[in-house]
């Protein structure tokens, strides 16, 4: 299928971007609201480290976090690539920009996996 071979692999990235977009939309706001704003302000209770560790030791939590964070990285990487091109008007530099963004997302993926797989 010579014709198909010429096709871009954008669909793969796009699916990652789309799934990530959904996950970020659904879950990031509440995480940021509580962990990033209300708990530091002391307006809602903050559980202690022990509680959090038990939570983290639960495989379901880890699966949740792995999916959420990995897709979030790819969502951000994919979108950032287009944003940089659009905002700076540098579509000609698409390839290097894509490389940087996707390497970032890949790094995020590795870090996430390492962090979650090596929980004691």
């Amino acid at each position: 299928m010579a014709a198909h071979a010429r096709r871009s692999n954008r669909p793969l990235g796009w699916v990652m971007f789309g799934t990530g977009g959904f996950l970020v939309a659904f879950f990031f706001p509440i995480h940021i609201l509580l962990t990033g704003v209300l708990q530091p302000l002391g307006w809602v209770p903050t559980p202690d480290q022990h509680h959090m560790l038990t939570l983290l030791e639960n495989p379901i939590t880890r699966i949740y976090l792995a999916i959420l964070l990995i897709f979030a990285f790819w969502h951000a990487g994919y979108r950032l690539r287009d944003t940089i091109c659009d905002a700076l008007g540098v579509r000609a530099l698409d390839f290097p920009i894509m490389l940087v963004c996707f390497i970032g997302a890949a790094a995020g993926t590795v870090a996430t996996l390492w962090m979650l797989l090596t929980v004691p």
Partner: protein, 261 residues
């Protein structure tokens, strides 16, 4: 234009005894390096469109003004211009809706300007051809009667077949502005119109072309194309749908290569 003559004999209705100032972009390619604006004062009439005002200028004030128009009923797609910074069909933009003025009228954004309000269209004509906007039959089947197509099957693509090629969506799409080789909303919507037609078998062919550089993936869903479209074609929707179709197709090809017909 004949309307002005009939107006003169017509009595009170429509005439508001007021005037409005048009600031019209002028670019004379034999003299100028960039456009400037000329002001014209024209009657403000409640039943005039912006196009009627331009015709008044051409007929009575300056015959050298260049712009395109034909049907004056929003269907031929020639009269698109920037009216106060927004792409509009001038034949269906009421003059009173932009009163009291001054009204800025310019050529459609992002396009090469040929003269005054006239833009370059040939590039777009090339893009049209590129998306293969005709029924492709791999089986060469020609039924004796019509192809059966239910109203529901017609509904699937009908909206995308309503494009009048007025170019307003291109003038609204910054991606096109940044990269003129982007196939762009109207042409991509047209491709999807044929992909979705139950009589067509050319989707794979089109997708091979349009999933490459400058095709559907260059659209970053800015969505303004759909906002300005006078025919409610919703090209943005068409492109996103196309992305889904192309993605399904991609997964089929790579994950189930044996599944290819």
């Amino acid at each position: 234009m004949e309307t002005s003559s009939t107006n003169a004999q017509s009595g009170a209705i429509g005439i508001l005894d007021e005037t409005i100032v048009l600031e019209i972009a002028r670019f004379h390619p034999e003299k100028d390096t960039e456009p400037s604006y000329d002001s014209f004062e024209v009657p403000l009439r409640s039943d005039w469109m912006v196009l009627d005002a331009l015709n008044y200028v051409k007929d009575h004030l300056d015959g050298s003004l260049a712009y395109r128009w034909s049907c004056r009923m929003g269907i031929c797609g020639s009269c698109g211009m920037m009216v106060n910074g927004v792409p509009r069909l001038t034949c269906e933009t009421l003059l009173t809706s932009v009163a009291p003025g001054p009204v800025r009228i310019g050529p459609l954004d992002h396009f090469t300007v040929v003269k005054d309000l006239v833009i370059e269209m040939d590039e777009f004509m090339g893009k049209l051809q590129k998306v293969r906007p005709w029924i492709v039959r791999k089986d060469n089947y020609q039924p004796k009667r019509e192809f059966i197509q239910t109203p529901a099957q017609l509904e699937v693509f009908k909206q995308y077949s309503l494009c009048i090629n007025c170019m307003l969506c291109y003038a609204a799409c910054p991606v096109f502005g940044l990269d003129p080789s982007f196939t762009g909303p109207a042409a991509l919507a047209l491709a999807e119109r044929y992909n979705l037609d139950s009589r067509d078998q050319g989707a794979a062919e089109r997708t091979d072309i349009l999933s490459q550089h400058d095709g559907i993936w260059d659209c970053t869903v800015i969505g303004e194309c759909s906002e300005v479209c006078p025919k409610h074609v919703d090209p943005s929707m068409a492109i996103q749908q196309y992305k889904i179709d192309a993605t399904k197709d991609w997964f089929k090809t790579w994950l189930m290569p044996w599944g290819n017909k």
